[in-house]
Symmetry: C2
Subunit: 759 residues, 2 copies
């Protein structure tokens, strides 16, 4: 069936299920068939305007020098970007916030025992061109932002990835990290979790290194021969306690304007308490070779050619000294507006950051240049065809994302009231590369994402990016993904944790959000190192900018549909299904934990762990664990049923007006759409999550102990995982209340729809 044939179907608005059940149904959800056809034509026109040469030009221009937040080049880039937007007809302003970003003054790491070694702690810059010269002159040295200041001396302990489970292993071997310095591998969690857990366990310092097994020679040739990590390369990055709160640590819950009220630094609870330093594999090897003690378990072993041991005995002692300059830094956000022709107070936001840790070709430029090209093409569309979006479009280019999502968070906090009222949705991007579509976000927008992904052609295969993603799930996916992919042809939306600028929108303000990227076929070791350069990106990650263009296509279609749909494309049946799946997961989590706890306690009671242990190695049996009670999941189960009914009722209402030929009154649509985009706010709780009130979303949060990785139904899931039984029941109530509020909003939309649908 061609799109034209659809015109003759007497459908008022395309209903999602039809779209979802058959990719052949292309009428964009939320549009009347005739408007849908025009919309598809406009999107095709949009795609035809995109030009890879612009992406290449801009990336090259903005990556000639390091452009971390506060650097001259970051300011220069911000002004360059603002100039571009203005040239394309956007009402553009630079919004500046004054944020705390520490810069290293002293970085010293030595082995004192069993023999003295002073580590160089530097990345080898390759080449002698202008970029290499700028790197030598201006790059921030490897460090972790918001590490504690200080000098510590202590025995060195290897703690694998530095996660809670790893400390369980150390305890079994009788190794206590109190008063010691832990050395951990990157990976397995967001980096900030490693010093956070180390500090909780009593360690006095934390070293993080890149093991070549993760992104070095084990994975492929190292740069400059290949994309993988040079042995001197170091991943920089923030260790602010962002799972507690993103943004400036001195201005919680408010924008870091010039005159904002600021906490004294020693009261800033998200700053790491102990010194933390990232080092290269070549430096780490020197430390690890000096460790003694038992050999670590297999899953702790990296790929350095040595025997990984626990250390911790005191025979290996290290000294770590770090001092930072704790001054405020100006962060330059660029906000570019194209005012909506019909609903100027409904804002569709599209964002990407511009600051980098060093040169940042991939992170963030590979996401930013598609955003710029999207904005340019929208400008051309307006110029050429007279098109104006019905809703106001905001292109937001954030500064200081890297240290703590500062630009986006301060702006969200500063404009919270207006955003809560007006923000329809936020579409985020960040670094991207060659491969498969990765799209995560609010599940009420799953149908929108699924339909848009069906329209965009994969540059390498000619299939839709959606079909290609599904193929990879069916062929190479986990068992769970295979099962999901078999159940329907359309894509499944991932859930958002953290790691980029959507966090303040979604999880603090309850604005439905997307994060979009391509990934999976162009891995590398450049992340947050000196080697994330134009040369690296264009040789290894997306030569020809094909996937950068595909990203512009996906995001362009998402933005255009959100901007112009008569009825906003919220489809609550997808959300209802997905949230029920999450509920199934947490009930299973509780059941599995109950069973495994029983079994472990039984083994302990019989003394079997001790009997099974090698007596020549230290072994401390674990303590018996408190049994897992049964929880009142019925509250959530009832709420989920209520949501399902509400979602169905909304969908029926949508169907019941299929015969209506007349366009509804604008006032009715205003009320309906407002109810729709405000629905996501209902999923927030005012109190927020336990111990982190800034995070309010009851469905999506970064894990308290994963950092970036999402925890869905986070209050409930984490209470169970952390064995806080009373809190689990309390969080079940909070989540159930949120689902009930959400269902109520949906019912409100359904009743407005019924009213609207009447001729």
């Amino acid at each position: 069936m061609t799109p034209r044939a659809f015109l003759f179907l007497a459908i008022f608005w395309a209903a999602s299920s039809d779209a979802a059940e058959s990719p052949a149904d292309r009428t964009p959800f939320g549009f009347r068939p005739e408007d849908g056809t025009k919309q598809l034509q406009r999107e095709a026109a949009y795609e035809s305007l995109l030009d890879a040469k612009n992406l290449e030009l801009w990336m090259r221009q903005m990556t000639t020098r390091p452009h971390h937040a506060g650097s001259p080049k970051a300011k220069e880039n911000a002004e360059f970007i603002a100039g571009l937007f203005r040239s394309w007809g956007y009402e553009t302003e630079l919004e500046i916030y004054h944020v705390l970003i520490p810069r290293p003054k002293t970085r010293e790491l030595q082995l004192l025992r069993p023999y003295p070694v002073t580590l160089p702690l530097t990345e080898q810059i390759i080449g002698s061109d202008a970029v290499a010269e700028a790197l030598r002159a201006e790059a921030l040295p490897p460090y972790n932002a918001y590490s504690g200041d200080g000098e510590v001396v202590g025995p060195l302990v290897y703690a694998n990835r530095g996660l809670s489970d790893d400390y369980e292993v150390l305890e079994r071997f009788g190794i206590d990290v109190k008063g010691k310095i832990v050395i951990t591998r990157y990976g397995g969690s967001w980096r900030g979790i490693k010093p956070k857990v180390a500090h909780e366990k009593g360690a006095i310092g934390c070293i993080i290194f890149n093991d070549p097994g993760d992104d070095g020679y084990t994975q492929g040739s190292a740069y400059p021969d290949g994309a993988f990590k040079h042995d001197t390369a170091v991943q920089r990055g923030s260790v602010l306690d962002m799972p507690v709160r993103a943004g400036d640590p001195l201005t919680p819950f408010r924008g870091a304007t010039q005159d904002a009220q600021r906490l004294p630094r020693d009261q800033a609870d998200t700053i790491m308490k102990i010194p933390v330093l990232p080092i290269s594999s070549v430096d780490a090897e020197k430390l690890l070779r000096a460790l003694d003690g038992p050999v670590v378990p297999d899953h702790w072993k990296g790929a350095l050619p040595l025997t990984y041991r626990f250390g911790g005995s005191g025979k290996t002692v290290a000294r770590l000294k770090l001092e930072f300059n704790w001054g405020l830094v100006p962060a330059h956000n660029i906000i570019a507006r194209l005012k909506g022709s019909e609903y100027p107070d409904e804002w569709v936001l599209r964002g990407n950051h511009h600051d980098a840790w060093v040169i940042g070709a991939r992170d963030p430029m590979s996401g930013l240049v598609p955003l710029l090209e999207q904005a340019r093409a929208f400008g051309m569309l307006r110029e050429k065809t007279g098109w104006y979006p019905k809703r106001t479009l905001l292109f937001c280019v954030w500064d200081a994302e890297e240290p703590a999502l500062l630009g986006s968070t301060e702006w969200c906090e500063h404009h919270a009231a207006e955003l809560r009222e007006k923000a329809v949705a936020y579409v985020n991007t960040d670094g991207t590369s060659r491969g498969f579509l990765g799209v995560a976000g609010s599940h009420a927008l799953e149908t929108l994402a699924a339909q848009a992904a069906h329209e965009v052609v994969d540059p390498q295969t000619g299939a839709s990016v959606s079909d290609r993603l599904r193929a990879s799930w069916l062929v190479n996916g986990t068992e769970e993904r295979k099962k999901l992919a078999k159940e329907r042809r359309d894509l499944y939306l991932g859930a958002l944790g953290s790691g980029s600028d959507y966090t303040p929108f979604l999880q603090h303000l309850g604005i439905a959000s997307f994060d979009v990227r391509f990934t999976g076929e162009a891995q590398g070791g450049e992340y947050h190192t000196c080697f994330d350069t134009f040369d690296h990106f264009t040789r290894f990650l997306d030569p020809g900018f094909d996937y950068c263009l595909a990203l512009a296509k996906v995001c362009g279609r998402l933005t255009l549909r959100l901007a112009d749909a008569e009825v906003l494309p919220f489809d609550f049946r997808g959300a209802s299904q997905t949230y029920s799946r999450y509920l199934g997961e947490v009930t299973k989590l509780a059941d599995d934990l109950r069973k495994s706890t029983e079994q472990a306690n039984q083994l302990l009671e019989e003394g079997l762990p001790k009997l099974a242990a090698d007596p020549t190695l230290p072994f401390v049996p674990p303590k018996p664990k408190e049994p897992v009670p049964f929880f009142n999941f019925a509250l959530l189960q009832n709420a989920a049923e209520d949501l399902k009914a509400a979602a169905e009722s909304y969908h029926q209402a949508l169907r019941s007006v299929l015969d209506g030929k007349q366009a509804p009154a604008k006032a009715d649509l205003l009320a309906l759409n407002r109810a729709l985009f405000h629905s996501e706010r209902a999923l927030l709780s005012e109190k927020g999550l336990p111990r982190r009130p800034w995070f309010r979303h009851q469905i999506y949060a970064p894990g308290f102990y994963t950092g970036y990785g999402v925890k869905t139904l986070p209050g409930v899931r984490e209470a169970i995982e952390e064995r806080k039984w009373e809190e689990a029941d309390q969080e079940i109530r909070h989540a159930a209340d949120a689902l009930k509020r959400y269902a109520a909003e949906i019912r409100k939309a359904a009743s407005l729809l019924k009213k609207t649908g009447k001729p």
Copy 2:
């Protein structure tokens, strides 16, 4: 309940279930309570005679020089061992066979392209003591016995472990090994499978190396600092096609006596067709660094500090030249007899080999010296207490096990008729070390093993070795082992594949067998290298010979019970249960394969594998596979039910005579016991397994493509695995027939028992 209390239980013979259900029931299965108590006392007396000093003395003495089969030291050791047996009162003879064992004359391996490298192919001998000097002077250099002669030049391809699945991966990348030399890692199968599969796939040569990820620095400190593999160390070993037939390749099915009829060498079908050479990790690194092409999948990656690539493009070319001296060598078996006082024509055999690849402290001396100490203690027992075994005991010390189980196989083939008639059971050992009991064998003897293991105390924990093994299963086992260990307190007997001298007994002649060792807490990299020395063993593997002594205890009890039980301790309920479990596995295998085949074919039909593949890498989709039909498992299911009923009937008969107080007539016992130990013969089929008639056992065989690893119900299982549908149905019939014959033998024993049990 103390053992004494048992005396008052009116049980004629201890019935296995009681023993199996409670380890507190110590009365040895097959004994009357009063005899059982005496038996336990005799076993205690036996254990008290064991002295670790002897083990140390003999191991030191027999490991001063290399003692591979045919070497002067092997002959010297054989004569020394024979002398010991004679001194302890055994009727002892040296039985010599003349077997084909190739010795290397030329070993050359070079990289020709992209740059010339000639590999040294030598192990670095450490130290300057007499042993080191002897190693330098007399050790066989690293080689694979029964490699083909020849010189080959060709592109080098890395093929991971060299198994069928690995070639599937190569095919997906469009890499053909025809006319090329493959380089494979040790591990994942018996080594001989690697050149066998390489040859089947068209390769012209095969190199096998030790990756440090398997037994080198990744696992622990390398020798001499620790137990793990020195980077120059090379695992020697046979590549004769032993899954087809063990023993001298020139004298199939008959003993290689001086005047035996011999095949010409070019008709010996088990000799490898292509040259094969084992090399060290330090040599392998030079070859692997030269390979180009795509990076291999994660599970192909070893621990060398380089990027593992497929190669195969022709840019990397190697030359391998091997020449061997193909002369016959005398193999000196030692057979020492203690004639049975009541049943001289019922033979209980206990064996271990004496030849090594080099010095062989662990392999085989750590198994041999406990056997010698067992024999010495039996001699003392006889001298001190006048005890004589009721049945004839044969201590067999084999030569030339390493090249092809030559000593044991030729002896079994030579004495096949007598053994079929008289052999009750064979108890084998080989290398051992510190850790957990590993006991595998014929499942009719599971109760015997379980009871004996309950009596032997673990040297490190004071628990029984059985309880300790169960603890390790429950705490660290796979899910399947955990499940089994929960189901009962007694140990489960493993199934025998191959890799030591039990193979001709069990799988060729149908003599119920055991293989016993301790393992799991003292790993090392010494296997078949120059580093398997007294120093290595006593520093790292079993300091103090504690586990060698425990091995002597377990094997002593097994042998004593087999020798003296009034009714031989065959318990068919365990066999019936276990064989039913195997049947469940093969039916599941067929179902799983049917499902996965359907799914894979469906994906192919939709073109999804190609769509999911990275277009910048070569990718050849697999061909659709023939669907898996349904098989007539009913035949086997009915036979298994029949066996279950027979086993139950035998057990009931045993119970029905519990009240009998009178000892049965000797003639009745003769007939009964003969039926019992002949039962295992019923599990053979005269035709043997497909393509390997020498292997006749229908329940246990080494895998045709695993080499040592067992395949239970091998005809059926391998037919399904190899997608030979007609053969699967045929093998189901053969296996069902074997189970029916077995059930008939058991019914015969039951009827004799009923007769016997009558006063």
